[in-house]
């Protein structure tokens, strides 16, 4: 069952650490058993002409998507994931369960606001040369 219009429209600035909590139900309206499931999250640039994937997260072999209980998972977005983004994007969560059932279980818009307050670092290194007359 796909839950459309799962939008994030506020409080998301580029470079934020963001945990997106998702609840997934089966077709009977019960919390979905996610044991041995594979979840894939994608953030998508979509100008209605040439949409493309900006990045993906997976529940396999990583802690990018954490299954936290029956029907529940958390998608972990790190600062570097959205550092340079500014505008409205789309996101989707795809599920393949242990029986091979596959489908998009969540979809919506994500509004990411430009971040101006960023960490900065610099470093210097000495150089030398000497000039002589021709």
């Amino acid at each position: 069952m796909t839950y459309e219009r799962q939008d994030i429209t506020e409080d998301f600035y580029a470079g934020d650490t963001k945990d997106i909590e998702v609840t997934i139900y089966d077709q009977d309206g019960q919390l979905k058993d996610l044991a041995n499931s594979e979840l894939t999250y994608a953030l998508i640039y979509d100008d209605a002409k040439n949409p493309y994937t900006l990045f993906q997260k997976t529940s396999v072999g990583a802690i990018e998507i954490e299954i936290t209980g029956t029907g529940k998972c958390v998608i972990h977005l790190l600062p570097g994931d959205t550092f340079s983004f500014n505008g409205t994007f789309r996101h989707q969560l795809h599920l393949v369960d242990e029986n091979g059932y596959a489908g998009i279980v969540m979809s919506g818009k994500v509004q990411i606001f430009k971040s101006f307050a960023r960490r900065s670092r610099n470093s210097g290194f000495e150089a030398y040369l000497s000039g002589t007359a021709s």
Binding site: G124, S130, A133
Partner: protein, 199 residues
């Protein structure tokens, strides 16, 4: 904790941390004490223990890149080459600058510049210098210092803009630099700097 590490390709040869040494532009491929004739570009590039101190390059000297035209260079006094990824290999660049962080971070607004060693926005004294970022499909030098024209320092239009880099725990920038004296004498008010923002 974010840290910068500056390296040169020398000695065995391999990437070697510059530590507390100085990058020395000289008039000789093998002797860092030989001055450069005013108006000429560097014909040697070395690590020195001071200004210039003794040679700390090891077996192989730092690659020397010499300005020929806005789009051309000579490597170690060889034939004139056009600036490109193929012609200017990473190991032929003057500097490798690593930026590392324990977390995976993205970098933007990175820039490389020269300054007087005291004030980041003030040009190095008595120097003209150009730089180009290696391995990013750059095709021309950028003037980063011209003391006689009051150009240099960490100022828009007077520094080399470096490419944005996506999320990673280690970021690598390759920089080629060429320099020449604008007057007679030792140029000690001459440093390089890198600055960036990250998240």
């Amino acid at each position: 904790m974010a840290t910068f590490t500056w390296k040169v390709y020398s000695d065995t040869p391999g990437w070697k941390s510059v530590s507390t040494n100085t990058i020395v532009f000289s008039g000789s491929a093998t002797d860092l004490t030989v001055p450069i004739t005013v108006g000429n570009w560097n014909s040697g590039c070395h690590l020195g223990t001071g200004d210039p101190g003794t040679d700390a390059c090891g077996t192989t000297h730092v690659p020397n890149l010499e300005y020929v035209s806005s789009t051309e260079f000579k490597l170690n006094g060889g034939t004139t080459e056009t600036i490109s990824n193929a012609n200017l290999a990473a190991t032929e660049c003057t500097l490798q600058i690593l930026f590392t962080d324990a977390s995976s971070v993205a970098c933007s607004n990175a820039r490389f510049y020269s300054f007087n060693g005291t004030t980041e926005t003030t040009e190095a004294v008595g120097i003209e210098a150009y730089a180009v970022e290696g391995q990013v499909a750059a095709s021309s030098w950028t003037q980063i210092n011209d003391d006689s024209g009051s150009i240099g320092g960490d100022n828009t239009g007077e520094r080399l803009s470096l490419s944005d880099q996506s999320a990673a725990t280690e970021h690598t920038y390759y920089i080629a630099v060429t320099a020449r004296p604008e007057s007679v004498g030792s140029k000690t008010e001459f440093d390089f700097g890198i600055a960036l923002t990250y998240s």
